[in-house]
């Protein structure tokens, strides 16, 4: 059996550049789905959240049959890729499952940072690139400029760039033709030792982990005994098949094929993205390279609003980790917030998604602490400890030095905003590396950032100072020593652990002041004055106070309208119940995220 009828490819694009629309049009054109089956605008994104965010969070793949102009029947496997900075590793594994990539660039927007990052990943993986200029029918399309950017980037010829409008259906047949003409057929030996690359997995409550994979060598059959090379776990294949709109069961899959595998695996942690599936009896000598354990970079405490919901929250997190091997959590206790969990996320977006899913899909009411990174602390007793919770930071006298994670960041921005970006980067303690110009109007600026400086509102800031044009991509670089201090907040003299943050010494004073001011606005008046203090160790660096309540009554209750007043009081009571009681002080939940609301 030859493999030359198979083409495996993915689509690389920036958010909103039209990837999903293009994918849909390819499916329609190849009759993989009918118009009426397109219940949503874009079939590849099937989670609510993705629909709303316009981001593909979970990878999928789909098979199309296409009859080429050469008269041959082709099997196209389109592998979807996530499109956000948090998911670079997942993207790289999807790319590794393909021989080619369609690079979609919005002709009205030009090349963006993420496009470049993903493009470089694709080029590194040896993929054939088909550049597609999308939205060419729009008046604001800058076909020549953006074409030049693409030529500059990948060194192709102008004729290689396909012009399209996925929305209007322009250029779709040309793209389908280019796929079999330009992208090479997969190589691999159907009779060789089995090696399959996992590029995604998701959890099904009836079947267990459903593994999405690309077969590189060998043939896998229903009933075979297999092994996941990283986890060393042995299983029997219950079902395999290809991916159409749903799963299509097959007896076997061979080298070059993209499909799914079900083997009764109870936990997605055993079917990690990037791991290799091989035969248990005749294992491959080496796994497919590139496997990485995805490590959480951002940490935050998640607490149930009501202490009774603790078990429920744990169960919800358990269920989420079944489907999301990047999410980590462990129990922690806060003096202020009670029992909760310290959770690790691969990035801030990942954290937001988890929070939203807990609230929406699992009906959890959460109190979230300010996110932080993981620090390495050298103590005076020459011990290195890792700290993923600011309140666990040793006292200043016990610290020799602190290291924090740095990332390599790439910002692509129209040249008129370079000044503003530089200013923002300086405020965020960035180390400038280089600037290159993609063309006359677009600059590619490279920085090294402390990760902690970009997990707060950095992305939003970046967008707002560049009117939405700047794009960002980053990856972990290394741990570096920084002059960091733990900033504590005291309410009426008692430190509140959930408010502690780690900041750079130069910023501590200003942050302390701003945080106190913000908390003064958020904490309601009590029967007594509430003193809010910011401190580094024993030293108070800022102070504010919430004055005591002087009057708490509205006279209204005349003419016998008792109902309105009752409802008002009941509402106030509910509001009071939602607050967290810290000692005698009632603190509204949003106060625990006050630091995120501080504008610099």
């Amino acid at each position: 059996m030859t493999l030359d009828h198979i083409r495996n490819f993915c689509i690389i694009a920036h958010i909103d550049h039209g990837k999903s629309t293009l994918a849909d049009k390819l499916l329609l054109e190849t009759h993989t789905i009918a118009v009426r089956e397109m219940e949503y605008n874009q079939v590849l994104d099937d989670m609510d959240l993705e629909q709303e965010r316009g981001i593909t969070i979970k990878l999928h793949a789909i098979m199309m049959k296409y009859k080429g102009s050469d008269g041959k029947e082709y099997t196209y496997n389109m592998v979807d890729t996530p499109g956000h900075v948090d998911f670079t590793y997942e993207v790289s594994r999807s790319l590794a499952a393909c021989e080619g990539a369609i690079l979609v660039v919005d002709a009205t927007q030009g090349v963006e940072a993420q496009t470049i990052t993903n493009l470089y990943l694709a080029i590194d993986a040896g993929l054939e690139i088909i550049p597609v200029l999308n939205k060419v029918d729009l008046q604001s399309a800058m076909i020549d400029e953006v074409s030049n950017q693409i030529i500059e980037l990948i060194g192709c010829k102008k004729e290689d760039i396909l012009l399209a409008s996925a929305k209007a259906g322009i250029g779709i047949p040309e793209i389908l033709e280019a796929i079999h003409k330009r992208i090479p057929a997969p190589e691999g030996d159907p009779d060789g030792t089995l090696r399959c690359l996992i590029f995604d997995s998701l959890f099904d409550s009836y079947r267990g982990s459903i593994v999405y994979m690309r077969v590189f060598d060998g043939t896998i059959n229903e009933g075979d005994e297999i092994m996941f090379m990283h986890s060393r776990m042995k299983y029997r294949v219950e079902e395999i098949g290809t991916l159409r709109l749903g799963r299509e069961q097959k007896k076997s899959l061979s080298a070059g094929d993209v499909g799914y595998l079900i083997a009764g695996v109870k936990n997605v942690k055993e079917t990690r993205v990037g791991d290799t599936v091989t035969s248990y009896r005749n294992p491959a000598p080496a796994a497919i390279s590139g496997f990485k354990e995805s490590k959480p970079m951002v940490f935050a405490g998640l607490y149930p609003q009501n202490a009774e919901a603790y078990t429920e929250l744990r169960d919800s997190l358990d269920k989420l980790t079944l489907n999301d091997s990047s999410l980590q959590f462990e129990p922690e206790t806060s003096v202020a917030l009670g029992f909760g969990f310290r959770c690790g996320f691969i990035g801030l977006l990942h954290m937001e998604i988890i929070q939203e899913r807990l609230e929406r899909e699992f009906n959890q009411s959460l109190v979230t602490t300010v996110p932080n990174v993981e620090y390495k602390v050298m103590t005076t007793s020459n011990e290195i400890i890792t700290v993923d919770n600011p309140s666990a930071m040793p006292p200043p006298g016990h610290i020799e030095y602190i290291e924090e994670p740095f990332v390599k960041a790439q910002i692509i921005v129209p040249s008129e905003y370079v000044g503003a970006i530089m200013k923002l980067a300086t405020e965020r303690r960035a180390v400038y590396k280089t600037t290159t110009y993609l063309d006359a109007t677009r600059a590619d600026i490279q920085y090294e950032f402390p990760l902690s400086e970009i997990i707060f509102d950095f992305y939003d800031k970046l967008k707002s100072i560049s009117r939405g044009y700047a794009s960002l991509d980053y990856e972990f670089l290394e741990y570096r020593q920084s002059d960091l201090v733990k900033l504590d907040i005291l309410l009426n003299g008692d430190p509140v652990d959930a408010f502690s943050t780690i900041v750079h010494r130069d910023k501590a004073f200003e942050w302390g002041k701003k945080l106190c001011t913000k908390l003064r606005e958020l904490i309601p008046r009590h029967m007594f004055e509430v003193a809010i203090q910011a401190a580094i160790g024993a030293k108070i660096i800022a102070r504010e106070s919430v004055k005591a309540l002087r009057k708490d009554v509205t006279a209204k209750c005349y003419g016998g309208d008792i109902s309105r007043k009752r409802k008002l009081l009941e509402k106030q009571k509910e509001g009071k119940k939602r607050m967290k009681q810290v000692g005698r002080i009632e603190v509204p939940q949003e106060a625990f995220l006050a630091i995120l609301q501080i504008t610099d």
Partner: protein, 405 residues
């Protein structure tokens, strides 16, 4: 208005049975409220239902009479009940001529018995009264007048869009005495934007000089939907800071107490227990029943709260269609009733502890917040009553919320 979740079931439930849960309902005593929705001009702060177009006033009188008849049709058990208090509020009830009032009273008398010692109050705007009119009211059995004076400062009266001057207020109260009224009340407002202590002090001096039997002093509140609310939102008017308002409140309390008026509710002060506003005390009892008539009026009968539509047009249309002009009603689960009784009784003469325990099964003396409330000087226990202190009146809402479950 929205239908409360409980009201859908209440229509089918056995009202008689439910009432027996709240056995403190006193069937012998009944009160009646009449809402007269006309005003010469609507005041900036007022959110009671009223209209400035008085062309339908005489038609309204006949509608009000029909409503009384309809109410008896629907509640035949009310026929012949004795009214212990009657209150004409508004709006401006003193826009009614004695003849119009007489015609309403005769309809009342057809259906109810007016108690010999009834407290019969009519709210008056000082700018709308003459000796003749007040004498007419007195002859019809009205025995208490409540004057909406609000302030004795000309600039404040103008800002509040009152139609009368300070002198007219003084004269109106003299005329009331001349007409034979022995129970006269006046309303004041404080914590007006930028009000100084001196200004309020002057109004208090002037009010005290008139020697009324009762004084209500209301802290101005900015209510949704009023012109004042819009002015605040547009930044044309600043609400008084809590510290200042609290100081003025305390000044009102102190000055009136010194002058021999004892506070028996957040905003109400009486020279003697006899001249308290007994009609309002019925509202704040939480159990006593009252019937009501007129647009937007609220009643409490047989354990059920009900209220009328706040539109004279719809009010008329419904009555002419032979229906009570009711827009909504609710019969509350016990937990909500408990809240009602808590805040109603506490804001006035205090929570009757034995009754509270008997009906709601909760001994407030064992409430976890009580020691702290006593320590803070918010409440005192006097005999069977848990009462607010002078300070407690200024923190009534907060105290109620702490006592709620």
């Amino acid at each position: 208005m929205t239908l409360s979740p409980t009201s859908s079931t209440s229509s089918t439930s056995d009202v008689g049975h439910r009432t027996s849960d709240f056995s403190a309902s006193d069937f012998s005593a009944l009160s009646a409220y009449f809402h007269i929705p006309f005003c010469e001009t609507k005041c900036v702060y007022c959110d009671f239902y009223s209209i400035e177009d008085r062309s339908s006033q005489s038609k309204f009188v006949s509608l009000l009479k029909k409503e009384i008849a309809l109410k008896i049709e629907e509640h035949p058990e009310l026929l012949g009940r004795e009214l212990h208090t009657i209150f004409f509020g508004g709006g401006t009830p003193s826009l009614l001529s004695p003849e119009e009032l007489s015609s309403i009273i005769s309809e009342i008398k057809k259906n109810f018995i007016i108690a010999r010692d009834v407290e019969f109050t009519l709210e008056c705007n000082p700018g709308t009264v003459t000796l003749e009119k007040l004498s007419g009211y007195r002859k019809l059995g009205v025995n208490r007048l409540s004057f909406g004076v609000q302030s004795f400062n000309a600039d404040e009266l103008q800002w509040l869009s009152r139609i009368h001057s300070a002198d007219e207020a003084r004269i109106a109260i003299k005329l009331a005495r001349e007409a034979g009224f022995e129970n006269v009340s006046l309303d004041l407002m404080f914590a007006l934007p930028n009000q100084t202590k001196e200004k309020l002090s002057y109004s208090l001096d002037e009010a005290l000089a008139l020697g009324t039997d009762h004084i209500s002093a209301y802290n101005l509140t900015v209510e949704e939907g009023t012109p004042l609310n819009r002015m605040v939102k547009l930044g044309q008017v600043g609400e008084m800071a809590q510290e200042e308002a609290a100081e003025l409140f305390e000044m009102v309390q102190t000055r009136l107490a010194e002058a021999g008026y004892s506070q028996y509710e957040i905003s109400n002060y009486a020279k003697s227990p006899a001249t308290r506003a007994h009609h309002n005390l019925v509202y704040w009892d939480g159990f006593k029943e009252y019937v009501s008539f007129g647009p937007s009026a609220h009643e409490f009968l047989g354990g059920m709260r009900a209220w009328n539509v706040s539109s004279l047009e719809q009010y008329g249309a419904m009555i002419e269609g032979g229906k009570l002009p009711r827009i909504n009603s609710e019969e509350l689960p016990i937990e909500n009733r408990k809240t009602e009784v808590l805040f109603c009784q506490l804001r006035a003469t205090g929570i009757a502890l034995r009754q509270f325990k008997k009906i709601f099964g909760e001994d407030l003396l064992r409430h976890a917040e009580l020691p702290m409330l006593l320590h803070e000087g918010m409440v005192v226990v006097e005999g069977d009553y848990l009462k607010l202190t002078k300070k407690g009146y200024r923190f009534c809402d907060g105290v109620v919320i702490r006592l709620m479950k």
